[in-house]
């Protein structure tokens, strides 16, 4: 059903090629809200990675046991339980981090990355490769959060991991409060996305920036996962064109070929034949 790739590929794809935050645009809420410092960014990234790896592990083990029709509620319950456990651990061992991340720890439950990977990967792969996938995606997410957090902390407060940066506070450059505020978060995030897209285009020769513009972001993620989604029944968002009705709009009808045009020319042609 799914394409087979080496463990090394699955481990490194999250860093640039399929970076969950900067390319696939999943998990934007915590990325903007908690990245006021490098420490928060790193903590949030590691917490999310832990949940992602464990949820991929559990879901790939249970993938044959969970009936297909109720898999989404089952996944959500598994993820929510893992998050609750994580919250206890954080409260016990790193209370300061727990306090500064606040409600964004329970909100890991609804982070699109975790449900998205469960649906797109752990659902259809073995245990080992799913754990590797979780680790790779988590690494990419953590790196992105860490870089955004560092930039915002250095530019906004003139510190890095709470140590003052000498050439900012003593030199001609004043800390700019705006970067610690929501507005600066959006701006830094925008610049990071631009840089990553440029790097992606340079290294891999394509710009998958249209991902976000399709209207069914919770499940479907990238070019590669879309082929998986064609096979399985889609829980939410547009259904495949052969079962119209129920108000669902297939992606081709709302935005004809916007996503397919660029890099899926050959898949598009087979798809349109199938529709006919």
């Amino acid at each position: 059903m799914a394409t087979k790739n080496s463990a090394g590929y699955e481990l490194t794809k999250g860093i640039i090629k399929e970076n969950p935050l900067l390319i696939l645009m999943l998990g934007t809420c915590p990325a903007l809200a908690v990245t006021t410092s490098a420490m928060n960014g790193l903590g949030m990234g590691v917490a999310t990675t832990a949940v992602l790896v464990l949820s991929n592990l559990v879901i790939s083990m249970l993938r044959k046991a969970i009936p297909d029709r109720i898999r989404i509620p089952a996944y959500i319950t598994i993820i929510a339980s893992l998050v609750t456990i994580l919250q206890f651990l954080l409260q016990a061992y790193v209370p300061a981090l727990n306090a500064s991340l606040g409600i964004f720890i329970p909100l890991i439950t609804v982070n699109c990355i975790i449900l998205g990977r469960a649906e797109a990967f752990a659902n259809s792969h073995g245990v080992f490769i799913s754990v590797i996938d979780g680790l790779g995606m988590g690494t990419g997410f953590t790196l992105a959060l860490f870089v955004i957090g560092s930039l915002r902390e250095i530019l906004g407060f003139g510190t890095f991991f709470d140590y003052p940066m000498p050439w900012i506070q003593e030199g001609g450059l004043q800390p700019m409060m705006i970067f610690g505020l929501p507005a600066g978060g959006f701006a830094i995030f925008g610049i990071m996305v631009a840089i990553t897209q440029k790097m992606n285009k340079r290294f891999y020769g394509r710009r998958p920036q249209k991902t976000m513009e399709r209207e069914h972001y919770p499940g479907s993620i990238s070019v590669r996962t879309d082929t998986i989604f064609e096979d399985t029944a889609v829980f939410d968002g547009p259904r495949p064109p052969r079962t119209p009705g129920r108000g669902a709009v297939p992606p081709a009808a709302t935005d004809p070929g916007a996503f397919v045009k660029e890099d899926e020319a050959e898949e598009n042609s087979t798809e349109s034949e199938a529709t006919k």
Binding site: T28, C29, A33, Q87, T109, V110, L181, M212
Partner: protein, 196 residues
């Protein structure tokens, strides 16, 4: 009454759900390409937010808290929200077809929208009264709508703008969001002046 009004206005303008609390950013960026989509999603969010608060608030304070199971809130709330969304979808499709047409495809998306779960958790954390919790949910929904509409308008204008190739697409959208967010910073002193 005054307390409820203060909660309502501060949640709409100062603690704006999207632009200062960063909840529901995914849908904010994904669904503001046209005003029509923004409207459908906003209506759905306000609706689900109010119903979900009316359900989860009693569940937490009447069932979970008395038996010291407050830590189960995440699991319970997410399941309640998922079922509420399912039931609402069926009910609205049957009873108010025009409303379903406006927000139908957006309802399933809401289950994984962090805005709803986030507001439920904030309502519990801040120990609001029931009225306060409903006001906070309504305010959050209205604030979300306000941000969605403003931003959808900005994006429609941006279609015609000449953007550097490097920033095309999402980066430019995020920069625009940053500027819209600056405009909301101007509301900081409004509540003190209105009610203080």
């Amino acid at each position: 009454m005054k307390e409820i009004l203060i909660i309502l206005f501060s949640v709409i303008l100062i603690d704006n759900l999207v632009l200062s609390r960063f909840l529901g950013v995914c849908s904010f960026l994904g669904l503001t390409k046209s005003v029509k989509n923004a409207m459908g999603m906003s209506v759905a969010v306000i609706f689900v937010m109010l119903v979900a608060t009316a359900v989860t608030y009693p569940i937490y304070w009447q069932i979970l808290e008395p038996v010291k199971l407050g830590y189960l809130q995440t699991v319970v709330f997410i399941l309640v929200i998922a079922s509420v969304v399912q039931v609402l979808e069926a009910v609205i499709r049957k009873i108010v077809p025009p409303l379903y047409k406006a927000m139908g495809i957006f309802l399933p998306l809401i289950t994984t929208n962090c805005a709803i779960l986030g507001v439920m958790l904030i309502n519990i954390q801040e120990i609001y009264s029931f009225g306060g919790a409903m006001a906070s949910s309504l305010g959050a929904g209205v604030g979300y709508t306000l941000a969605m509409f403003l931003f959808a308008g900005v994006r429609e204008k941006m279609e015609k703008a000449d953007i550097p190739h490097f920033m095309e697409g999402l980066p430019a959208t995020l920069m625009a969001a940053s500027i819209v967010s600056v405009s909301f910073m101007g509301f900081k002193g409004v509540i003190e002046n209105l009610f203080g």
